[in-house]
Amino acid sequence: MDRKEILVELKKVLTPYTENKEMLEGINEQTDLIKDLKINSANLVDIIIDAEAQYNIEIDFDAAEKMYNVGNCIDVIAEKINKPA
């Protein structure tokens, strides 16, 4: 799965947590989950759990801390997907 494909799936993960659907449609790697998408911080863990289910990966403590913007989310997901079993 390349970064573009991960981004498409990531939009589905983020959809329930943002009111700003227009901004979500146009997100790029610099989009900040809280500042730009106005996602409540209380939902950040929900997003991590949903991403784990969506990509069948496990996101640990350290990786979760990096997931504050879209590019960082893609970095973490890509690294986990491509990690050899």
């Binding site: 009111e19 700003n20 500042k35 106005k38 409540n40 911080s41 209380a42 950040l44 863990v45 929900d46 991590i48 759990i49 784990e52 996101i59 403590f61 350290d62 979760a64 801390e65 504050y68």
Partner: protein, 199 residues
């Protein structure tokens, strides 16, 4: 430098079942912190969101001091938690108090809890704070309501709320940033502010 940090969690807006799953709370609560949980004193859901709100409040407090800080709840470690006596909890008059460490820094926090929400502040210095329920739960309404709430209570003329380039709120008068540390929080239909004025 004075600072301010607060948070609010609307308990009706959280996923209760998910909150109680170790897969959820272990993302930001480590085993040492989980040892502070005693089921006869506090419900698991409340414990989990209490720790979250303490960490979020601490992040906001520290962000004002170190603007480059990134929210990393696992690195903010709750070291101590004092639960109010059951009678105080029943009357909603008791405060949950605790201490939290962020590297070499230790911060005290204070929380109030009802069936509807958990509200927390970082309790460093002379902090003023309030909570209010509002009608609408969309982001724009929450954001405007919490700013108006503070400005109404401050009763200082010609003050506006701006945003520091790092993202934290500032109070502005005549184009200048005032030396008042403020913090806002909103979740669902609950809003809260806290502020601190230097003595």
């Amino acid at each position: 430098m004075i600072s301010a940090g607060n948070d609010i969690v609307a308990l009706k807006a959280v996923d209760i079942q998910r909150t109680q799953s170790p897969a959820f709370y272990s993302k930001f609560i480590n085993p040492q912190e989980f040892a502070l949980y005693h089921p006869n004193e506090i419900a698991l859901v409340n414990f989990v969101w209490l720790l979250w709100s303490a960490k979020e409040s601490a992040y906001k407090y520290l962000k004002r001091i170190s603007p480059e800080l990134i929210f990393a709840p696992a690195k903010l470690v709750v070291q101590q938690l004092n639960i109010p006596r059951p009678s105080k909890v029943a009357e909603n008059t008791g405060y949950y108090q605790g201490k939290l460490s962020a590297g070499s820094t230790t911060l005290s926090f204070l929380s109030t809890m009802s069936h509807e929400y958990i509200a927390t502040i970082i309790d460093q210095g002379d902090v003023h704070w309030k909570v209010r329920e509002i009608e609408a739960s969309d982001y724009e309404s929450q954001s405007k309501a919490v700013r108006d709430f503070l400005l109404d209570d401050l009763k200082m003329p010609d003050i506006t709320v701006g945003k520091h380039p790092s993202g934290y709120p500032v109070l502005i008068k005549d184009g200048k940033e005032l030396d008042i540390a403020v913090s806002f929080a909103h979740h669902d239909r609950y809003i809260s502010y806290c502020y601190q004025i230097p003595k």
